[in-house]
């Protein structure tokens, strides 16, 4: 702790898409960087809200009632239990904030399900 965490330096340490890397822990919450490109799957997290902060690029999230576009310098809170499908046409760099042990594909087991707790 008390280390300076530089997002750019951390993003340079991985290249895989849709695979969250943990960069910090605050109480029982984690901050995770993700590179996104293409389509993710519909899923939900039944026990927690989830924050998406876009650091570079453009991310879309499709909900059952609307699709939103989130650009660099913007964030959104995805409510607990709400089905959502993130996608980005081009590479996008985001930060997630959520309790530790949250799985990226939530209630769905898929080939996109990433190993949890991957620290960089």
């Amino acid at each position: 702790m008390k280390k300076i965490i530089n997002f750019k330096t951390k993003f340079n340490q991985f290249s895989d898409y849709w695979s969250p890397k943990v960069i910090a822990k605050m109480n029982n919450y984690q901050f995770k960087l993700v590179k996104t490109k293409g389509d993710f799957i519909n899923h939900k997290h039944d026990k927690t809200d989830e924050v998406f902060i876009v650091l570079d690029g453009k991310l879309n999230i499709e909900f059952s009632d609307k699709t939103v576009e989130i650009n660099s310098g913007e964030m959104i809170v995805v409510p607990k239990g709400e089905i959502h499908r993130p996608y980005s046409e081009n590479e996008c760099k985001i930060m997630l904030v959520e309790p530790r042990n949250v799985i990226n594909t939530g209630d769905v087991k898929d080939k996109l399900t990433a190993s949890n707790n991957q620290w960089i």
Copy 2:
């Protein structure tokens, strides 16, 4: 919820320093924007870690054992119970992540103690 929150738009809505404005809630945590300039006071938060993300400018935090400099695109986790004193020579724009009800001056009552739970 499910609203896009734009940091720049939110920062344009206030001008006072060291007075956190809540922009989002995730479970029992809050995301707060703060403009900093000049010196803050020594304080600690006995019950929680605290995350500082610098969105624009340069922030310093003085601890008992070292002083760190955090620039735009960087973050730090201040551990629970650790005395810290933020300061910035010039205006700096930051985001805090911490449980709701955390007071900006922690264990200290001061003229810099801001009203809590100020949503914008």
